[in-house]
Amino acid sequence: MTDFVATKDLLSRRILVIDDEEANVLLLQTLLEREGYQNTLCLTDPGEALEAFVRFDPHLVLLDLMMPGTDGYQLLEAFRRQGKPGAFRPVLVLTADTTVNARRRALALGARDFVGKPFDIVEIGLRIANLLEMQILYERLSGARI
């Protein structure tokens, strides 16, 4: 898929999708399946997100912000607390709230990327691949150093 990372490595990465809107989850799932990702977990209940994050230990999280109950910002903070030190576990925020405030707040809380809804599915596919590729390279680097 890329020049640096084997497609097999990329597609075996675990991806967690959290969005309360079923249609969106389905869209992302369809997208990920089309791209060939094999390890995806999709949730529509943000209440289960933290447990899933711990249990599933995803490489990448696709996260909606505006959700009933626990919203995306709270989850961002929780993920940051749970994350192992030194680990690169990117979160890609996908939200229909495209205001500047939402963007700033999400990025400040540790989101690696921010895409407004509706999004271009090709673009999302590329951004996901980019983040994972960066992650793999990062892991290689830190492994080599150790």
């Binding site: 505006m66 809804k117 509706p118 999004f119």
Partner: protein, 647 residues
């Protein structure tokens, strides 16, 4: 001078009073001194006259004594000669030798002393007789030594007889002289007594005159100086006590000058006092008359000492009721225990203290007061009390509170509006996300679809994207109206804006068969605006031209400076706008029915959004007909910026 002062005419008293103190002092000292010196001179003269008279008396005594001596010497010499003749013993001749030795000197002394003419005549007889007697005696002795003695007794008898006769004549003369001198002595004694009596009288008179002169000097001193100085002192005392001065004669000496200076000082003081009193009175009236401010004074312990109309109006107490009361009664129970003393000590420490808070009226009602307390100190820095100025700020306080509530409400409303916009954005975009996303998924598999399905997918995407831009612009307008336009105003170069607008709009215009003509801006010209939003407005208007003026050839972007603003014009050669529709141009969703006829795309929000953006940046936007009657002119203005160096 004594003559002058002796007549007490008022004019002379006046002249005397006018003399300088030096002259007065001189007169007062010199007058008794002159009298004393004259008295002493008289006494001296008297004593000298007495001495002369007494010398005359002494002389008379001496003459008597000496004449007596002459007679005695001659008588004793005669007796001695007689004894010698009888005894022939030499010792009997001693008186004779003594007389021979002393007589010349005695006679000479008498010759010098005798002044009286009668006496001198007698004296000359005495001298003559003395000579006869001495030669007679001498002849007797010679004869006795020559002869044997009793042989010539007869001749001796005769010689003795003649000698005796001479001596008797001499005795007579001497007695005469003695008598004459005795008379003279009486005369001289009388003269001495006269002189004594005269000078005693003179001394008495001069003593009396001296006493009178001294009394006069004292009188002059008293009238000319002492009494006037005393009156002057009285006036000075009156001046000290602020009383009116006693009238003082206008004399030209130092005391008179001092008196008139004192009078002038008194007049000056009175005038100042009067002015001060009037000023204070005016000031008091002003303060008492002030109605909008409660102005009152406190003593150092906080008891009310003055009260004005304003204080009465604001607090409700009449002056009679509140004077002497402690000012803490103006404070509500919750602050009364600490705030009054706290404010006074703050004012005493810093000179002044300000406070705002609730205070009590007489009726127990509250008012919001602004209070300024100023410490009043005398020139030595001792605290004399406090001045307190109170303003009733209740209305302002209420207005502030209302304003605060209104502001909070406005903030809450704005927050609610942003929250609403954010939520609306979310709610509208979320389904759009699914629709467009899945349509895109389908589009990816277009190759496997039938033409009908493929066209349907394209329709879904097209309508979906249109809907999305509608949502975006609607939310944009709403957020501008909610005050959330988030404009970044800066000086932006007209040249830059034009370049960017041309780059962005040209493809679209070219596609519509139009050519963009730009009027080159003056280098350095700028506008004060948000760059992105300015270009958005420009593009909006240019896109409109591309949509509606397809039957023309060119679209112009022109500019001009006017009144510190820059006016932009976008001119096209399209059909223009009907006069009836101009007023609806900037209304949202009003596309004037064009879309249906011509199949143009658009949300119907472009002009409405542009209007709000331009106005938010402090400009105006409008529509004008072209002079030719064909085509439309859309214009907007923006504030001119400072010249940019970049050009």
């Amino acid at each position: 001078m004594s003559v002058k002062t002796a007549s007490p005419i008022p004019a002379i008293t006046r002249v005397w009073a006018d003399q300088p103190l030096t002259v007065k002092g001189l007169v007062v000292v010199a007058l008794p001194l002159a009298i004393l010196i004259s008295a002493l001179t008289l006494l001296f003269l008297a004593s000298r006259a007495e001495t002369v008279a007494e010398d005359d008396v002494r002389l008379a005594f001496a003459i008597q004594r000496d004449t007596h001596q002459v007679h005695a010497l001659l008588a004793e010499a005669a007796g001695g000669v007689r004894g010698y003749l009888l005894t022939r013993q030499a010792r009997f001749l001693d008186p004779y030798h003594k007389a021979e030795a002393e007589l010349p000197a005695t006679l000479e002394r008498l010759d010098k002393s005798i002044q009286d003419q009668n006496v001198r005549e007698r004296f000359e007889r005495v001298v003559l007789l003395t000579g006869q007697k001495r030669s007679g005696l001498s002849a007797l002795l010679d004869r006795a030594r020559e002869g044997s003695g009793d042989s010539d007794t007869q001749a001796m008898q005769v010689a003795l007889e003649s000698n005796k006769a001479v001596l008797d004549a001499l005795r007579q003369e001497i007695d005469l002289i003695q008598r004459l001198e005795s008379d003279l002595l009486d005369v001289r004694r009388q003269r001495v007594d006269d002189v004594r009596a005269r000078y005693l009288g003179l001394t008495t008179v001069s003593g009396i005159v001296g006493l009178l002169g001294s009394l006069l000097a004292v009188y002059l001193f008293s009238t000319g100086i002492v009494r006037r100085v005393q009156r002057l002192e009285g006036n000075a005392h009156r001046l000290e006590q602020g009383l009116e001065l006693e009238a003082f004669p206008q004399n030209r000496d130092e005391i008179g000058n001092l008196a008139s200076r004192l009078e002038r000082a008194s007049a000056l003081l009175r005038a100042r006092e009067q002015a001060l009193r009037e000023g204070e009175e005016r000031f008091r009236l002003v303060i008492e008359g002030v109605r909008d401010y409660g102005i009152f004074a406190l003593d150092p312990d906080g008891y009310v000492t003055s009260w004005n109309t304003g204080a009465q109006r604001i607090k409700g107490w009449h002056a009679d009721e509140i004077l002497g009361q402690h000012f803490s009664r103006f404070y509500p129970a919750e602050t009364r225990t600490f705030l009054p003393s706290e404010i006074l000590s703050r004012a005493a420490r810093n000179g002044t203290a300000e406070d705002e808070g609730w205070r009590l009226r007489k009726d127990g009602g509250r008012f919001w007061a602004n209070v300024v307390v100023t410490a009043l100190r005398d020139e030595t820095g001792v605290l004399r009390g406090f001045a307190k100025v109170t303003r009733d700020m209740t209305d302002r306080r209420r207005a502030e509170e209302a304003l605060l509530v209104a502001r909070e409400e406005a903030v809450a409303a704005s927050l609610a509006k942003s929250e609403f916009l954010s939520r609306t954005s979310h709610e509208l975009r979320t389904p759009m996300s699914a629709i467009l996303g899945f349509a895109q998924v389908l589009e990816l598999d277009e190759a496997q679809m039938s033409a009908t399905h493929s066209s349907a997918v394209q329709q879904i995407l097209k309508a979906g994207r249109h809907l999305l831009s509608l949502i975006d612009e609607l939310l944009d307008i709403s957020s501008i109206e909610a005050g959330g336009a988030d404009l970044k105003l800066s000086d932006i170069s007209l040249q830059d804006v034009f370049d960017e607008a041309r780059d962005l709009a040209s493809p679209l215009l070219r596609a519509a068969g139009l050519r963009l003509v730009l009027e080159s801006p003056t280098p350095g010209l700028s506008v004060r605006a948000d760059r992105r939003r300015t270009i958005q407005v420009m593009l909006n208007l240019l896109t409109n031209a591309a949509k509606y003026a397809r039957d023309g050839e060119i679209v112009e972007l022109a500019w001009r400076e006017e009144n510190n603003r820059v006016r932009f014009e976008i001119r096209d050669e399209g059909p223009g706008v009907d006069a009836a529709d101009v007023s609806r141009l900037f209304t949202p969703f009003d596309r004037l029915g064009h879309s249906k006829v011509r199949g143009t795309e658009g949300t119907g929000l472009g002009l409405a959004l542009s209007k709000r953006l331009v106005e938010a940046m402090g400009g105006e936007i409008g529509f004008a007909k072209r002079p030719s009657g064909r085509g439309a002119v859309f214009w907007f203005t923006l504030p001119a910026g400072r010249p940019c160096s970049s050009g």
